[in-house]
């Protein structure tokens, strides 16, 4: 049982305001069912895990990577906006340090020189600039999240 995975799933539910999440991964012999309290009571998600449906700890092989099945690719950005993709693989930070203010927020106007975020790669903090003028419509990744090359970070409505 991978607790890390569960933590990530719960975080995902929180961010996506999910009430319920069910996953069955036959290859991993894994079934996960998570349900959160309905709106009113705020915290403590109820977690129910049904592990190892398969006879043995089945071959520890895994599921689809990014760029796998066609269903994985959601339709593309909403009309009038463009996805701002990460120019490198690394860790995404919204601020220069834990104490600093975020570089940008939803609704903020940005110009070509505006720093949008930092991507840390090999201990180097790379400031990522907007390189266009526009307005931040959505921030697609969480502070501290690992990101791939080419992964969309922001939705920007171009000026």
């Amino acid at each position: 049982m991978d607790l890390n995975l569960l933590r990530k799933l719960v975080r995902l539910m929180d961010r996506g305001e999910l009430a319920e999440l069910e996953i069955e991964d036959e290859k991993q012999g894994l079934r996960v069912h998570l349900r959160r309290f309905e709106e009113s009571s705020p915290t403590s998600p109820t977690v129910q895990v049904l592990g190892g449906g398969a006879p043995m700890a089945a071959a520890p092989m895994a599921a689809a990577p990014a760029g796998g099945p066609a269903v994985a690719e959601p339709s593309g950005p909403p009309a009038g906006t463009i996805e701002f993709a990460s120019p490198m693989v690394g860790t995404f930070y919204r601020a220069a340090s834990p104490d600093s203010a975020n570089f940008t927020e939803v609704g903020a106007k940005v110009t070509a020189d505006s720093v949008l975020c930092i991507v840390e790669a090999m201990k180097v903090m790379n400031e990522i600039k907007a390189e266009m003028s526009g307005e931040i419509v959505e921030i697609l990744v969480e502070n501290g999240e690992p990101i791939e090359f080419g992964q969309p970070l922001f939705l920007i409505k171009k000026a």
Binding site: P60, M61, F149
Partner: protein, 456 residues
């Protein structure tokens, strides 16, 4: 053993490493460029991380991108395969500084064996024969004649700054040496702005024979016999086999001991290869050490039954070798051909594109290592090799026949490949007799080459 590793390569060797990891119950993270994003093997990894655009320089050769991926994926080790960063001492050094195990030799070893003069000196210290030569600049006719006398004809006069055959002369007697000496100097001056030349024994019609070694981090080193890679085109190997038809048990032991001696001299651990030239009189001369797994490691796997990629992983994780030298047994004969997306009829120009109908051979004695399948698009950005076909049978002639029938049943539509060329090579009487040398392909299959030339 590692719990989780990153595979810093692509194509068939990424696939090969994935297989070894799964069999050892190691979680895999594979990095890929945008040029490889639709490759099927990415699905078999626990995680796949895009590290850059198709260009190798900005993906598979990009040290920060790979290290960064290793950090966010939280792996214990990086497996480099061959090519790209596999023999990059700097990369191995960076891995060490980031506290990530590099599945290869120590950076110091990579640097030492990668330096031609240092490697040659190491071989001499280990008592291993090297191609005899002046070991430095030859300034005058008199010096040249003295060296030629001590080495024995034929000799080769080579430009110190040379390459690609320019500034080189073969001499078979004193007058041709004197002429060649001056000609090579002028040419070297003209071509490289440096007239320095040196003299080396010219090994005629050599065979390329290399010895597979395995060393652990506890000082144990063994060899796993030889591979014969004499079927080459412009120094690109096309066909490999083990054992070599030119090597008998006595010679095998001598070459094996030589390889192990050099490995010890360089504190080698990991899988590795020591390359030799073998002349018609069965004298062997050290050429270089390849401090990585090689494309053709597979033929050694077939005849010895040792999984070399698994062995690399075990070594890197600190385990001692499972085998002693006396446990190594070679059984049968294995031949490998490289299936490249190239057109042998048009000077081997690359033939990337989408594969249509595809049916790889199978059945007894056949192994097929590949990431390709019907519908796969061979990207134009990388090496043209799309797979390695192996035949392993009880003796060389059976393996040759099995390979011929396998090539015959191989169907690949949509791209050109080296399959028909391999059928001709394996059917050739010299190959069948096992008497071919490194000039074999140029000698007999050159006609297939320059039929049509591209615009450049």
């Amino acid at each position: 053993m590692f719990r989780r590793v990153l595979i810093a390569n692509r194509g068939e060797i990424a696939q090969r490493i994935l297989r070894a990891c799964k069999e050892l119950d190691i979680e895999t993270v594979v990095v890929y460029s945008e040029g490889d994003k639709d490759a099927l093997y990415l699905r078999h990894a626990n995680e796949a991380i895009c590290i850059g655009p198709a260009s190798s320089a900005r993906s598979y050769l990009d040290v920060p991108a790979i290290i960064s991926a290793a950090e966010i994926a939280d792996v214990e080790a990086i497996v480099p395969g061959y090519g790209f960063l596999a023999e990059n001492a700097h990369f191995a050094e960076v891995c060490r500084s980031c506290n990530i195990k590099f599945v290869g030799p120590a950076p110091e070893t990579i640097a030492a064996v990668g330096h031609k003069a240092r490697a040659r000196a190491m071989a001499i210290r280990a008592g291993v024969p090297v191609v005899p030569g002046s070991d430095g600049a030859v300034e005058t006719e008199v010096e040249a004649l003295r060296w030629a006398k001590s080495i024995g004809y034929p000799v080769m006069i080579k430009a110190a700054s040379g390459g690609g055959g320019r500034g080189m002369r073969i001499a078979r007697n004193d007058p041709s040496l004197v002429n060649g000496f001056h000609a090579a100097r002028s040419e070297a001056e003209a071509c490289f702005g440096d007239s320095t030349v040196y003299i080396e024994k010219f090994v005629e019609n050599p065979r390329h024979v290399e010895v597979q070694i395995l060393g652990d981090q506890h000082g144990n080193i063994i060899h796993l016999g030889e591979r014969d890679c004499s079927v080459q085109r412009r120094h690109q190997k096309l066909v490999e086999e083990s054992p070599s038809p030119s090597v008998d048990p006595v010679l095998r032991e001598a070459m094996g001991k030589a390889a192990v001696a050099i490995a010890k001299e360089s504190n080698y651990y990991n899988a590795g290869t020591v390359e030799f030239l073998l002349d018609a009189d069965k004298n062997f001369y050290f050429i270089e050490v390849n401090a990585r797994i090689q494309v053709e490691h597979t033929v050694t796997e077939m005849v010895t039954g040792v999984d070399l990629i698994q062995a690399q992983l075990k070594i890197a994780s600190g385990e001692p070798l499972e085998l002693k030298q006396e446990d190594v047994e070679m059984r049968g004969h294995a031949i490998e051909v490289r299936i490249n997306a190239e057109d042998p009829e048009r000077d081997f120009q690359p033939s990337p594109g989408k594969i249509g109908l595809f049916a790889a051979p199978g059945g007894p004695g056949i192994r097929w290592d590949s990431h390709a399948y019907g519908g796969y698009s061979v990207p134009p950005h990388y090496d043209s090799m799309i797979g390695k076909l192996l035949a392993h049978r009880k003796d060389r002639e059976s393996a040759r026949r099995t390979m011929l029938r396998a090539l015959d049943e191989f169907v690949v539509e949509g791209i050109k490949t080296t399959i028909p060329l391999h059928s001709r090579i394996l059917a050739h009487s010299d190959f069948r007799a096992g008497i071919h040398d490194t000039g074999f392909v140029e000698r007999y299959f050159a006609a297939a080459r320059p039929v049509i030339r591209g615009g450049s």
